[in-house]
């Protein structure tokens, strides 16, 4: 009987805990007005990248004189914050928007190991050579996108002020000149005990 009592008690506790668990809800990413976190989150990356894309399109520096798209390579985007973040969140949305604009095409020879590795198929008799990349056929990048994300924190009037700075540059690899530079700041005011890492 004691055995059944223990089992009943355990089941009751499990049921109670289950009942206490909050409902998970879906967020509409286009109309997301839910509370912000002190740390960097998806909306911050979206806001920063959208502002910088708008600036790039507005300036017109990414428009090649002959109307053809530039070949862009994504270089290093440094994470100089206290957070472990994937900087691809920033570069990915920028490259998607730029490719959709028709102004650039992105070479993936750095990120996708198969681009370089596929040259090994040239020697193989197992592969039909019609689809094998010919020597000297990779498109060399003309522009490079690089940047940095920084974070600074201050305590002012009992509140923590967190400043994030997204800085990006586009450099012409043929002459080393920077053709576009952009900076977007996101400032947050949080509880002084808020943790951002």
């Amino acid at each position: 009987m004691k055995k059944y009592q223990k089992l009943f008690a355990s089941l009751t506790v499990v049921a109670l805990l289950g009942g206490c668990a909050g409902r998970t809800e879906l967020i509409d990413t286009e109309n997301d007005t839910t509370e912000y976190a002190a740390a960097l989150e998806g909306r911050d990356f979206e806001k920063a990248s959208n502002a910088m894309i708008q600036d790039m399109l507005d300036m017109g520096t990414l428009s090649k004189p002959n109307g053809q798209p530039y070949i862009l390579v994504i270089s290093r985007i440094e994470n100089d914050t206290m957070q472990r973040i994937d900087v691809d969140e920033l570069s990915k949305s920028i490259r998607i928007a730029l490719m959709k604009s028709g102004k650039v095409r992105v070479t993936a020879f750095q990120e996708d190991a198969m681009v370089m590795a596929s040259s090994q198929l040239r020697q193989s008799k197992e592969f039909h050579q019609a689809n094998v990349r010919k020597s000297g056929s990779l498109a060399a990048p003309e522009l490079s996108l690089s940047g940095k994300i920084t974070q600074r924190e201050f305590v002012v009037s009992g509140k923590k002020r967190i400043e994030y700075r997204f800085s990006l540059s586009i450099t012409d690899l043929r002459n080393g000149l920077t053709i576009w530079e952009g900076e977007e700041k996101i400032k947050k005011l949080a509880d002084k005990n808020a943790v951002t890492w």
Binding site: E25, I27, D28, S49, K100, S101, G102
Partner: protein
């Protein structure tokens, strides 16, 4: 005398409630957004065919509003882009504002500006 007073009050209320006039093909504005006027102009940069848009207006009141620009191609199909996201701005009474936007691609032929004071809480029911 009472009739004159009542008439004046009705006239005053009517004057206050004069609806905002705007180009309904270019704008979709929530009635709760209090503006004195709003207009838009655009240009296509000859060098690269890039469409640039400016939205100019005057706020009737202190208010936080959201706006976004949706882009359409020559066939009237909406162009999917991350750039068409709500942007929150603070308006000040009688202050003029200028918002600008660049088309996401050369395919953009027309656009529509959406202005609202409320985009909900973001939770999908």
């Amino acid at each position: 005398m009472k009739k004159i007073f009542a008439g004046s009050m009705i006239f005053l209320l009517w004057a206050c409630a004069t609806p905002l006039e705007y180009d309904r093909a270019k704008f979709s504005i929530n009635p709760d957004v209090r503006l004195l006027n709003i207009n838009t102009n655009n240009t296509v940069r000859p060098r690269d065919g890039q469409m640039l848009v400016q939205i100019l207006g005057t706020a009737a009141d202190d208010q936080s509003v959201y706006y976004k620009v949706e882009w359409f191609d020559a066939n009237g199909m909406r162009i999917s882009t991350t750039l068409s996201q709500w942007k929150k701005v603070n308006l000040r009474e009688n202050d003029e504002f200028i918002w600008s936007a660049a088309a996401p691609s050369r395919r953009a032929a027309t656009y529509r500006v959406y202005v609202t004071d409320d985009i909900g809480d973001g939770i999908i029911e």
